[in-house]
């Protein structure tokens, strides 16, 4: 049993707070739910819509089914979403909303409380009792919610889609919160950033955390400054990160190269949105894989993660800081607007222990770029002893002094590239779903993980054999990562939110694997389960 509701209206009508209040209460009441949004790059007006899927079983994607309830705060909702209302669905028209607003004005002297009434109304529809809902809620808000419940009762829609809360104890996150928390668990204590959708809320998390924790957030004058500040802090001994989107990341690229040359650890979160240039600032895409693969001039190692679930985002963000330090390289976390802005619940245990950097102390003979067997030189920070810590963006000798000794240049290149071998053997394996013997394997990466997983389950229900493989580590890709799955002999379908199949290209280049069927979507929206299922069903017959 599940219930799908869409709430549409103009920017500035308070829809974000409806989503937040509703998901907050659903979580408190232990309902399974998934919430995401489709919004425009404007502060007032336009048309935004928030989609919430409430269920008795775990849900981590949009179903794509017809809506059970449409709430229209503007005329555009009427045009766009009413068509997709199920036959016996509930439609709260603009006219009805006006009545609710009138009631809010009369009872609470302000129409804005109609939004909380709507929350109460939705909760009434799934059969929640007002008593439970308002437990622990401020008196004022409780009144608003109750008035919403009463409205639902009067309209005869209360209990129309009865759902039981089955989720039990859990945590609730959006993708950016998961990444920010993971970063803090990874010992990240410094973040610099320039606001850019969809990465800004990571900065918000850090600036708020800084009020109570030993972490710092600095708003930079531009992204070039942000990454250089992060590198400065990392050099000074504090694990650091930046977060941005494609356009901001373009400005950061010289800093990526500097991290590679100076061997300064840094973690870079890139929340993808459709490009080129300003593109669709508030929508989703997976178009920046090639950018991140090749970002920064020169040759140096890197790692790219693309988490597909909340637990993966926390774990990989945490791990990124350990890896950045271990290999003294830039580590990327590639997400997108869809993942960043979707609210999901998670049952996994969150590790409470924070990682931290080690600070070995050396004497005056310390050499920052000492040539070692494995290419990794001991890392420390300035001011701990007589060891001078000298970093250089020029080619340098072991002490960090500028050099044009060309033999040494070759040895230094070898030193940096040696790290590739260690990184390649220290991989995060892909996740396999489905039937090992299936002839076709659906390949995906990043945020499509759980949409593909649910679509696959539907295919299995049809009695068809299929499998899926999700990559949370997209680079490096090694033969060992895919060895257990015999992909050479399979028909590969690659699901991606871009127009040219960037991951399929990478599979070909790195592993020699040919994708038979790309399934691509690049209009700025995420896939729904139904959409993927229909597409895949055709391919699998």
């Amino acid at each position: 049993m599940e219930f799908n509701v869409v709430i549409g209206g103009e920017a500035g009508q308070g829809l974000f707070s409806v989503e937040i209040e509703l998901t907050e209460i659903l979580s408190r009441l232990n309902y399974y739910f998934f919430a995401t949004k489709n919004y425009m790059s404007r502060i007032r007006g336009g048309h935004n819509f928030h989609m919430i899927r409430i269920s008795e079983a775990p849900v981590h994607a949009l179903s794509g089914r017809k809506w059970d309830m449409v709430i229209a705060l503007d005329e555009e909702t009427d045009n766009l979403h009413r068509l997709n209302l199920s036959d016996d669905g509930i439609y709260l028209s603009r006219g009805l909303i006006k009545e609710i607003e009138k009631e809010a004005r009369e009872k609470f002297q302000d129409a804005k409380y109609a939004n909380t009434m709507l929350v109460g109304c939705v909760l009434a529809v799934i059969g929640v009792s007002p008593g439970i809902t308002t437990e622990g809620v401020q008196d004022e808000m409780a009144k608003h919610l109750r008035t919403g419940f009463d409205y639902a009762l009067r309209s005869g829609i209360a209990g129309k889609y009865l759902l039981q809360p089955m989720a039990g104890d859990h945590c609730k996150f959006d993708g950016n919160q998961a990444i920010a928390l993971g970063a803090i668990l990874g010992g990240c204590q410094f973040m610099a950033g320039y606001p850019m959708t969809p990465a800004t809320s990571i900065m918000h998390y850090f600036s708020t955390a800084a009020l109570t924790m030993p972490v710092h957030f600095e708003q930079a004058e531009d992204e070039i400054s942000a990454i250089n500040m992060a590198l400065g802090a990392s050099y000074a001994g504090v694990r650091s990160m930046v977060a941005t989107s494609g356009g901001g990341f373009c400005l950061m690229q010289e800093g990526v190269s500097l991290s590679g040359m100076s061997e300064t650890p840094v973690v870079i979160v890139l929340g993808q949105r459709p490009g080129p240039a300003t593109g669709l600032p508030t929508r989703t895409e997976q178009g920046e894989l090639n950018l991140v693969l090749h970002a920064g001039h020169g040759e140096f190692p890197r790692i790219i993660f693309a988490p597909g679930s909340i637990d993966e985002a926390i774990a990989l963000a945490r791990k990124s800081f350990a890896l950045a330090d271990r290999y003294q390289i830039p580590v990327f976390i590639l997400t997108d607007q869809y993942f960043a802005d979707s609210i999901q619940i998670m049952h996994d245990e969150i590790p409470k222990e924070c990682l931290s950097r080690e600070y070995p102390v050396f004497d005056a003979t310390y050499k920052r770029y000492a040539l070692t067997e494995d290419g990794i030189s001991p890392l420390t920070c300035p001011g701990l002893s007589d060891a001078r810590v000298r970093l250089d963006s020029d080619e340098h000798d072991e002490e960090g002094k500028i050099t044009e000794d060309l033999d040494l240049r070759a040895r230094m290149v070898d030193k940096r590239l040696k790290k590739f071998a260690m990184i390649a053997s220290d991989f995060m394996p892909p996740t396999f779903y489905g039937d090992r013997n299936a002839a076709s394997v659906i390949v995906c990466w990043g945020s499509n993980k759980l949409i593909v997983k649910e679509a696959l389950e539907k295919i299995k229900e049809d009695g068809k054999s299929a499998a899926a493989l999700h990559f949370a580590q997209v680079y490096p890709l090694t033969a060992a990562m895919v060895a257990p799955y015999g992909l050479e002999a399979k028909r590969l379908i690659c699901v991606e939110n871009n127009a040219r199949g960037q991951f399929a290209g990478l599979l070909k280049r790195e592993l020699g694997l040919n994708v038979a069927h790309p399934m691509l979507k690049y209009n700025g929206e995420c896939f729904t389960v139904l959409e993927l299922y229909s597409g895949l069903k055709r391919l699998l017959t």
Partner: protein, 276 residues
Amino acid sequence: MTVLKRTDMAWCPGCGDFLIRDVLEKALQELYIPMKDIVFTSGIGQAAKMPHYLDVNYFNGLHGRALPLAVGIKLARPDLTVIAYSGDGCNYGEGGNHFIHTIRRRLDITILTSNNQVYGLTKGQSSPTTDLSIKNDLSPQGNENIPLNPIALAITMGAPFVARCYASDREHMKDIIKEAIPFKGTALVDILQPCVTFNKTNTYQWFKERVFKIEKPIEDRYEALKMAELWGDRIPIGVIYRNDKAVCREIKKIFRERIREEHIENQLDMRCVMMR
């Protein structure tokens, strides 16, 4: 550290940077700051090679980025003495935006600019401080742009310590640098540094005929701006503006402060993470 001979340093014979290096070394010794606690950041250009020739910690980064590196280091480690050293092209051109905004951050950072009014390493093009009408490779018709006035800009942005010195007057330069580094706040010292190879206008002789010393720091901002406007026939050197009332921002200690489990517990707010 490997001891470098003068000929190992990448500067031309007669370069003002040699004079600045010797004075810097002496000033740092006389200030009694442990060398292990001094961090230089620099960008790219002939001046930006300076930290390689001093017994200090350094992060010689990218062109124009000495200042954001310095900001990151200072915020992470307020215990370190942070000095950003680069040329006029680096600090005022490629890093011009950082110059403006670093001052706004109210951090205890010293910005030293070796200002030779020319791009030396790329062989003689106009820099942001090249005088109007000066001819060179890329401006054969003469430089069309008004020179940037770093002193006036820094005062306007609110820098509490703004000074200028002249590489050839070593004792004076040392005094100014020794005043700038311990100053609590963003301190700019613009150092007039004749480029013997590419700047045939602003030579040692040219400066000698023009520089004059301000005897004591100017504390009135508008008086200081008037002084900052002087260039050409008479060029003031000394502390052009000093504001001891300006307050640095407080920096929270994060280095080696562990994030503890209770921090995370609070963050999780029982079991639901609060939105925004």
